[in-house]
Symmetry: D3
Subunit: 167 residues, 6 copies
């Protein structure tokens, strides 16, 4: 543990060993605690595209409904996608979408939670990213220029490194 800690202090990348080779870092001796993370991804589009999403027929919001489920399911696939991520037992995932007509953007906000030996930042970031990519997919026939920005960790709590809040 202390070797690990000193690595961190010296600002080294923990997923690389002393020879610079990738590894899944050992978390066996870390404590099981409740850990939460919130991440976002902002998808920017043409005004007409946003209108189409918001007025998509009888079952209004099916683009966002599909993106919500895609995000939740992607959170569970994080360990398969990100090579050095530990497989963990997620205990909660929620997706929220904030529409901003002024900037013509939708913000996908993912909140993930676990009770495990490592955090759920990557799960939240993956959920937000895949939700935004799903919006892209469902609208790409009308607007190929959509762009995803600001994929970032908003907040995390729990675990040795404590609470982080993006300024």
């Amino acid at each position: 543990m202390s070797a690990e800690k000193s690595r961190r202090e010296r600002k080294e990348l923990t997923h690389l060993d002393e020879k610079g080779r990738s590894r899944m870092v050992d978390i066996s001796s870390k404590r099981v605690t409740v850990r939460t993370a919130v991440a976002r991804a902002v998808i920017e589009m043409e005004r007409d595209t946003l209108d189409l999403i918001l007025n998509s027929g009888i079952e209004k919001g099916d683009v966002l409904g599909t993106a919500r489920i895609a995000g939740i399911m992607a959170a569970k696939k994080t360990g398969e996608l990100i090579p050095m991520c530990h497989p963990i037992s997620i205990t909660a995932v929620e997706m929220d979408f904030q529409v901003d007509r002024k900037t013509s953007t939708i913000t996908a906000l993912a909140t993930t939670r676990t009770r495990d030996r490592t955090g759920v930042e990557m799960e939240a970031l993956t959920a937000a990213s895949v939700a935004a990519l799903t919006i892209y997919d469902m609208c790409k026939a009308v607007d190929r220029s959509m762009t995803i920005n600001s994929v970032q960790l908003v907040k995390k709590s729990g675990g040795r490194s404590g609470t982080y809040t993006r300024e």
Copy 2:
């Protein structure tokens, strides 16, 4: 086909049916052609983080090496992640990373190709996103504020809708 075309002209979302419900749109009668897509994702980080990545020990570049493989493998998982995406037979994937010290960013550039009835835009966007998320994962212990921006389609060719190049 003509119904489909008129939907497109009327700027409707093809992945929703006439009642606004999600579906995997029918591509049975589309032509098999070679289709290529290029997408990018730009990860912005602290200068120290970029230095750590570029100087990561003997086997230099293992962060980017891991991100490259993560991106290539993610391209193959696109159909599992994006609900309405068709499973397609990808024929090529390449990942390239461009480091810009001035802006302290790394651009992940994914090129995908297929010979199928639908395009590989989502595969390229997924590859670029997951590569960028992998860089985040490998460096998050030293820099939680990294942000992924400009996840976008750079270019696509092949298929009925022809060539698209981002301005």
Copy 3:
């Protein structure tokens, strides 16, 4: 091919070899044609449960919206779930739900299509089953006695064996 045909005539199980052992039967020489299948699964529940589903808040129908996406995504996973199924390139999936208040049931109807060397019956059956299981999951806290019945092929067309319609 003729050995295969005679097996079929003698009413043998094609997924078992002459010694009765499982195998993924060879379809290399079958023709590529458009093949369609429709399958259903009927979930029976208490009247109160059906009411809850139909009145589930502002974004009405989110239970069925989630089940729709689960069904579509499950169709793509068929080859991973059913051991002797060939991985095929699905070209379309649609899910439809029919609510019958009199019998207090919801029928999940899956339509799948491909342009390949083998049919999509298993894909349709898997989509309908998983959609029904998803409804069960989302309502099980209030009604554990829900039952799924009549999981069956409704229709299929294309391929050597021609069209089948359930009477």
Copy 4:
């Protein structure tokens, strides 16, 4: 927790939030206990089909052998298939098949167990369903009219809601 409990009392769907949107409900504060579930699926077929299954060559029972393994492996995939299911650490899965010549049916019976914060009902139901679908797949060349009925929870124990036994 008490909000959760009151929702349950008011017979609300826990996988939907107060706005009716899908979410993976938070189980972080639920207790880890041993939880068991038993589920079944009954596949009905023509008498000749049943005979073929029971007499399938030297390695008798290979249809059921394949269905058994498909069911066990599917239990492990439940979290990937059912959108709002939590990924859990299954500690045991058993599949049993009961042949009834009078009704010309095979009942697939799945027993699953875990030591986790939530139950394994969905795992048992998924295992039973996929086992039945596998029987369908292996026999469909000779009998397309097979039907799966009575997919239901037989019993569950462990967890806050206690023991449930189907009457």
Copy 5:
């Protein structure tokens, strides 16, 4: 293509680009042909272990039955496991087991086939390996010293490079 060919003649690794970086090599312009591969893996064990496998109760051969299905299902997962492998449409998989009491070994023999732009060698090797690993898993409680040897390509045919047969 000719650049590709000259690389091969100069004995370069096609899955690395000119800078030595991994990529999924472009097969878009290769011809679709029937391609077959046969691979093997030999698992060596104590005599008592072999006896246990061969006499495993009423449903004799269930260890091998399980290994057979594991091998067939693993062939379909090759593209997910081997980073630079193309996802391909396998058209047939067969597993055969040869027991040799003299050497106290079981040889797992996998035959795979496709009609695609690239071969199925990796699929056959993966199927044979996973079948052997499954035998290890099912017997490890009684014999931890089992060893898998001679994982190799026995034969392949189809495609530009023609037929290969191991001497």
Copy 6:
């Protein structure tokens, strides 16, 4: 438990029930302890092939870099590949490669760790096997005769059966 123990003493296969049928054995009452496993796979090749791997351009070692990541990711897929394996929470994976020019071999060495109710032997064996298969894949265009040997457990510790070290 005692029944289980007596099975073991009588040298029975725990993954088969009393009727010889496959099951995922019940580990609910086993203790959570730290468990470690080390496994290896040795890939033998032509001398020229080894040279190509060791001199693969600027980013030296990209074949081994790719194999390392493939092995680590495969460890996480063990429960999906090996039918009777329990899904477990891996807490660490490391891959090491030892090059021996004299024998013209590369040994892939996988170390896996968990804090769970069952061991990680299969995870280590799967990681070593898939790493070796990845080396095969990346070099097969120049050397189809490569052979993987000595896939075996080197060491394991933790759990009821204690420490095992291969002689």
